[in-house]
Amino acid sequence: MKVEQISIFLENKPGALESVMRLLKDADINIRSLSLADTADFGILRLIVNDTNKALRVLNDNGLRVSRTSVVAVEVPDRPGGLHSILAVLAQQGINVEYLYAFIEKSGENAVIIFRFDSLDDAVDVLLKNGFTVLPGERLYSF
């Protein structure tokens, strides 16, 4: 029920993002979803790709600081209040969201949101018990 995500440390400078994208392009890796968290000096680029292991290897070999993290992909009804319905359940159960971002493609009539939790397994339990659909990684890598 977990999705593999790659995080990449980037300095906040021209060309930093471009060089990562070039490496992925040359390795024929497709990006399924991404988000970029930034501060004044540095950023963390988070990616879900079609081949996590290969992408990690390529980036690592080229001297980038990368790490592998697990996130959760949840289907969200694509209507007003859709995301709120998930967050309401999580808040009630005292589960903290570290960060989230939207998946680019839809799953049927639903949008997909990527969540990072500090207590990932608890969060998945809560979501499943409350009738939400948590997507397996394979679904996302090859949507």
Partner: protein, 435 residues
């Protein structure tokens, strides 16, 4: 004006006789009371009795900063703690700091030498001295303070920082003299002007500036902006603190070394050979009156030269030129002495940071800035991919640098391998400052 005319104008032969007598006493005392000196003297094959003339000082071994660190905290004290009335220390993590002690008589001597400095700057008991050197473990604040009181002047124990308040006091209390680092003087001048204060109209007529290298160009700038006479003072905690040497108002060129208390030499930093007057090299000091923390041939790593020509002020004491640089990699940032190795120790201490780092020193306006660029380690990034984790790391590092070294630094995390790798002795410092 001269504070202690008897000693400051001694004819050279008499002065040198006095120096020899005191040197012989100090050599005996350290040899018999401090294990370190017995060891180094024996190793150099020299006994205290071998000092028969002043040039015999060359036979004594040097003492280095590393020796001081190795004997942290009190290993080089030559007096029992019951006689020590004050301790000061340089910044540094445990074992990397240097601790110095003073007996009551040492404090009296230091106070007198600082009083001599003030008088050399044309001050009397009628002056009000604004002392903006830091009070605390740093020797600057209390050293200048005691000297001002010894002279009988009115001292404002301002310490560093809180610039707005300093400017208010400069206006309201009307001090006639100020002590601080030259860069802080410029900072005060600029902040004051920005606040709409006419910094040239203050009552200040003299500034006594030291604790960092500066230039004649900076002197002109400070004098123009603050309408005062800017004078150079020199000192270092190991030798005593501020007041080891001081420029006189009459000469305003070179700082008189108080030779009845210190013997100064200039050596070739590579070979250790003593250089003749006038040649540039590393300053070496021997303290000949200190009781608690005597030092024999201490290598300061400060580069300067000695000026033997008599000064028009009438002092017979030799002068040393401005310090023009260092023979090691010590940085002076806003008056705080920092070694790259100390910064490295802090980096290693903060979990997850491997010591690939670079220091960028610059001067923005009048203030020195230090940026520490550190590569993000694999461990640091593997554990968490969250921005706040890395920001906490930056904060922890900045805090440790402030706590241990007293220096404010901006931490910048950089990508791995983005810093140049060095072969052998790393040169990790980029100093963009122009004096």
């Amino acid at each position: 004006m001269i504070y202690n005319e008897d000693f400051e104008t001694l004819p050279r032969e008499v002065l040198e006789t006095l120096q020899l007598k005191r040197l012989q006493q100090v050599a005996q005392r350290v040899y018999h009371t401090v294990g370190f000196y017995k060891k180094t003297f024996d190793k150099a094959g020299v006994q205290p009795d071998d000092i028969k003339t002043l040039p015999d000082i060359k036979r004594l071994p040097f003492t280095t900063k590393q020796d001081l660190r190795d004997n942290y905290p009190f290993g080089l004290f030559a007096a029992p703690m019951s006689s020590v009335v004050r301790l000061h220390a340089s910044s540094g993590t445990t074992g990397r700091a240097i601790v110095v002690g003073y007996t009551k008589r040492d404090i009296d001597t230091w106070s007198e030498l600082m009083a001599r400095c003030f008088v050399a700057a044309g001050l009397t008991k009628n002056d009000i001295i604004h002392n903006a050197y830091g009070y605390g473990l740093f020797t600057g604040g209390l050293g200048a303070h005691y000297g001002a009181e010894k002279l009988g002047a009115s001292v404002i124990p301002m310490s560093g920082g809180n610039t707005k308040r300093q400017i208010m006091i400069l206006q309201d209390f009307g001090p006639t003299a100020i002590c601080c680092t030259p860069s802080y003087a410029l900072n005060l001048a600029e902040r004051g002007s920005a606040m709409g204060v006419d910094m040239r109209a203050l009552k200040l007529r003299v500034g006594i500036f030291g604790a960092e290298p500066w230039s004649e160009k900076m002197r002109d700038e400070i004098e123009n902006k603050m309408n005062l006479a800017a004078l150079n003072i020199y000192g270092l905690s190991e030798v005593m603190g501020p007041g080891v040497s001081m420029e006189c108002m009459e000469g305003r060129y070179g700082m008189h070394v108080f030779e009845d208390h210190f013997i100064v030499e200039v050596i070739n930093p590579e070979t250790g050979e003593t250089l003749p007057y006038g040649e540039e090299g590393e300053l070496v000091f021997t303290t000949i009156t200190k009781e608690a923390f005597p030092l024999v041939r201490y290598r300061t790593r400060d580069i300067s030269r000695l000026i033997a020509e008599p000064c028009r002020c009438g002092r017979s004491h030799i002068r040393m030129d401005r310090v023009t640089g260092r023979s090691d990699d010590m940085l002076i940032i806003r008056g705080v002495n920092v070694f790259p190795s100390q910064i490295e120790a802090v980096l290693i201490g903060v979990t997850g940071l491997e010591p690939h780092y670079q220091l960028i020193v610059d001067r923005v306006g009048t203030m020195d800035t230090l940026e520490v660029q550190v590569e993000v380690s694999e461990q640091a990034f593997a554990n968490a991919d969250e921005v706040r984790f890395l920001q906490n790391l930056e904060k922890a590092l900045a805090k440790d640098l402030k706590d241990y070294l007293g220096v404010t630094a901006k931490i910048k995390l950089v990508e791995p391998k983005s810093l140049q790798r060095f072969e052998g002795k790393a040169s990790r410092v980029i100093d963009k400052r122009k004096m």
